[in-house]
Structures are given as C-alpha cells and as structure tokens.
C-alpha cells in the first residue's frame, strides 16, 4: 500500500510517501511496524494522540482494519481556514 505523510510527520520521517509491503491487520499494527524500523519513525509516531489517520482519503481511527485499503495517510490535526 501507499503510505503518505504530511506536515511535521513528513518532516520527521523525511519523505512525503512510500510504498509499504505489510500484513498489518489494523492501522495500529502498521504504526507498530513502522515504529520498529528506525528512530525517525519512532519519533514521528511517539504520541498517537497528536496524530490523525486517513484511509483511502477518508478520516479514520487507529483501530480500523486495513483490509482492502490502498492508501494510508498520517498527519497532525488539520489547520485549514
């Protein structure tokens, strides 16, 4: 699946998007997998309460299943307007 990062999540991880091969069942499982990769991922995902997630461009929750999902995006709370 494609994993996208925005704002300071993108800055901490150091890239805007990447292709991730995973068998993670839920968003939380995917986060756990990414955290284990490198320090920059652990830093970006240190506090999940400061993060939001979208699945196929719809806001979702960290306990949501990833079954059939093609695009996951992680970002801080939005500041439009």
């Amino acid at each position: 699946m494609d994993v996208l990062y925005f704002a300071w999540v993108r800055e901490r991880i150091g890239l805007p998007r990447e292709r991730v091969e995973t068998t993670a069942a839920t968003v939380a499982d995917l986060v756990e997998e990414l955290r284990g990769r490198e320090d920059r991922y652990a830093a970006a995902f240190a506090d999940l309460s400061a993060l939001r997630v979208a699945l196929d461009q719809e806001l979702s929750e960290f306990d949501a299943p990833l079954d059939g999902v093609r695009e996951v995006a992680f970002f801080p709370p939005m500041t439009g307007g």
Binding site: F6, A54, P76, M78, T79, G80, G81
Partner: protein, 148 residues
C-alpha cells in the same frame, strides 16, 4: 456549488460578484474571507500551506454538500489556497446564498468551522528571523464542531 483548491490568488470582488449574480431566488448572500495574519509574536515573513491533493477536494465537497442540504442553500462556494502566502494575502473564501440571511450566515459559519478542522490543510509560519513553526490546532476549533 463550486470548490476550488488553488495556488493562485483569487479576486475577491470578481468571485463575489459572479457568485451573487449566479444565484436565483436568494435574498441573502454571505461571504467570508480568511487573511494571513502576523504571527502571535510578530515578524511573520510568510505562511506555507500544505494540503493533501485528492482528499482536500473530496473533504471540501462533502462539507459543502452537507451545508447545502442542511440550510437548503441556493448555492455555495469554497476557495482555498495552498503554497507560500505573505502576511495580508487572502487564504480562502466561502460564500453562501439562501432565501434568508440566518441560513446564509449559519451555513457560512458551519463551512468555516468544518474546513478548519476537517479539511486536510496544515499551516507553517515562516518568521523573518528564519525560524519556522507549524500552527497547532486549537481545542476551541474542535469544540466548535459540537454545536452543529
């Protein structure tokens, strides 16, 4: 209903005129414009607005469709810019048209409240001294959604 996510500036007068002239049977047209203000500590050089192409248009369309339905609007317009903007530049505008002003005002506030917290935009302040900082979402913005 029109949604525009764009980097280019927009003409407030021309957009407002075109919107008002395009609606029929509406006694009230409300427009709101958001402008880049100085940083709280002063010295803002620019504001960088990042967004999530694809999701942004989708989220704004859903928010505007909900407003159209709830207040039986004659029309609605949302323009939101992204990219690098200087202090004083216009970031975004919303316009609503309804038979009566109460509906037009309420719908405009609803659009503003939702696009502040539910449309995927993120603002970064670039200060004159070279410092930068992401604008943090406020609890008050999230609370504002509860009244709808």
């Amino acid at each position: 209903m029109r949604i525009s996510v764009q980097e280019a500036p927009f003409e407030l007068g021309a957009e407002s005129d075109a919107f008002a002239e395009g609606v029929e049977n509406a006694g009230a047209v409300v427009t709101f414009t958001g402008v880049v203000r100085d940083a709280d500590q002063g010295g803002l050089q620019a504001m960088e607005i990042e967004h999530y192409p694809g999701m942004t248009e989708k989220a704004l369309t859903e928010i505007a469709q909900e407003a159209m339905k709830r207040w039986s609007l004659a029309d609605a317009l949302v323009i939101h810019r992204h990219g690098r903007l200087a202090a004083g530049e216009r970031i975004m505008m919303v316009a609503t048209a309804a038979r009566h002003r109460k509906d037009a005002f309420e719908a405009a506030e609803y659009l503003m409240d939702y696009l502040k917290s539910r449309a995927p935009f993120w603002k970064k302040e670039i200060l004159e001294g070279g410092g930068t900082g992401w604008v943090e979402a406020k609890d008050a913005d999230e609370d504002a959604l509860k009244r709808w």
